[in-house]
Symmetry: C2
Subunit: 281 residues, 2 copies
């Protein structure tokens, strides 16, 4: 397994792979790998000749006052985990090379970027789509793998890839959860024991919503009210949003119908957790 | 010579070329080819194994009230000219395939896009950088060729390529002029005989500016005043802007120093013409 930090070197490596008519699977990450990342890496390993992951805590997708500085990092542990999943290259760039002085270019996926998490975190998805595009241009993958936990991210990236005619496929894989249901996230490390127990309510409220829809409820407001009640019952939970949206446009639905994304964001202390469920009604 | 309209087919063609370790030179155009385009094609022909041009009058870089509908088109003549320059593929997409319903993604090169022509034509360079990025992703060139006549366009595209880590080189070639000095442009076809004669003043005013700088003038206001006086002397000339800017930041200089772009935009009737000179002072 190689670790490549140099952008040109990474591009040259990928170019040579393509010349040999081999495929590259790519898992972009911010590191501090957990079983969610590993599930993406294992799938990418199976489906491609070569497997590249990137580890880069991208400053431009964090807002002022967010957790960029304290975001958890552990490169030597990430390296071991990557090796165990059969990674061929870890692309591990420096921020000053990704955004040199005078950097000016950004990508925007309109409409999809300013709702849900984008409403709470202005500029977040601009940062995400720009860095993901840069990483795609550097790594030149045939397929890139994202977790369904960050559903809006996957939807924004998929739309960007389609709109900009990038020659690669986006694969979005199911959220990996702890036994009790908490979605895996590098940010779970911020939670104390009690917060971690209480955070299970995100998953439980989503299960309740899915159950209500499956049993025929049609009014999103009633479903959201029930979810709100459940989440509020947990000590220290502060709701950022609960939304039921059309999965393509991400606009709120007035009536339960079609393919829907039920998305929640909840603070426990300073830690903001997200989770979601997808259902066809 | 092939004409390819289908995006996937174009991508597949380019992918196969790269697998054979051959290079692709690319000249993006809006068609109605003139000697300026042909000079780019000839250079690209020399420097690459394969030569692709695109012909696409991109709707998103025209503002409301601009000349999108009447922009001159002559595909069969363009085909003949392309053949004579040794073009291998004309990529000739349909607007509905480039921007299908629900299209949402755009690219912005900040600061460089809202000055000079960008100030007069809001959204123009967003349209340019987005379509050029799409074309690059479809054609996958090793080098792309632009004319210095559209200096700001070349500067914006070059910055985008660098910032987004696109694996290709941008080459900007000198403006091709008529004998008297008028810069070639597809839009010259809009001019009547008298307008065409008067339009030579753009080039003459630029020559005067260059002469003043070479003879030691240091105050851009005095140089611009002289240019303004010359251009205004021509019947029907309406100045959009005259600027002397730093060639990297495109910001106006207070004193003549360093590598400078002298840029002018002037209306004759409804026709907006641009021209420029580059000088190191």
């Amino acid at each position: 397994m190689k670790v490549i930090s140099d952008i040109q070197q990474m591009q040259a490596w990928s170019k040579e792979i393509h010349r040999r008519r081999k495929t590259i699977g790519f898992v972009p990450t911010m590191g501090y790998l957990h079983e969610g990342h590993l599930s993406l890496m294992r799938r990418a390993r199976k489906e491609n000749d070569e497997l590249v992951i990137s580890i880069f805590v991208n400053p431009t997708q964090f807002g002022p006052g967010e957790d960029f500085k304290r975001y958890p990092r552990n490169f030597s542990r990430d390296k071991e985990l990557s090796k165990s999943c059969g990674v061929d290259v870890i692309f591990y760039p420096r921020a000053r090379d990704m955004y040199p002085q005078g950097y000016k270019t950004c990508v925007d996926v309109e409409d999809l970027s300013n709702v849900l998490c984008g409403a709470s975190r202005p500029g977040h998805f601009r940062g995400v789509s720009t860095v993901v595009l840069k990483l795609f241009n550097i790594v030149q993958p045939d397929a890139a793998y994202f977790g369904r936990k960050d559903a809006q991210q996957a939807i924004v990236v998929e739309k960007m890839v389609k709109d900009l005619n990038l020659a690669l496929r986006i694969k979005t894989l199911p959220t990996i959860r702890e036994k009790e249901g908490l979605a895996l996230s590098s940010r779970n490390t911020y939670l104390n024991k009690q917060q971690r127990e209480n955070a299970v309510i995100l998953y439980k409220s989503l299960q309740t919503a899915v159950g209500m829809i499956q049993s025929g409820h049609k009014d999103p407001r009633k479903i959201i009210a029930q979810m709100r009640k459940m989440i509020k019952s947990r000590r220290g939970a502060r709701i950022d949003y609960i939304r039921i949206v059309d999965i393509r446009s991400l606009t709120e639905v007035k009536r339960i119908k079609g393919r829907l994304l039920i998305a929640v964001a909840v603070f426990f202390g300073k830690t903001r957790l997200i989770d979601n469920a997808i259902i066809r009604a």
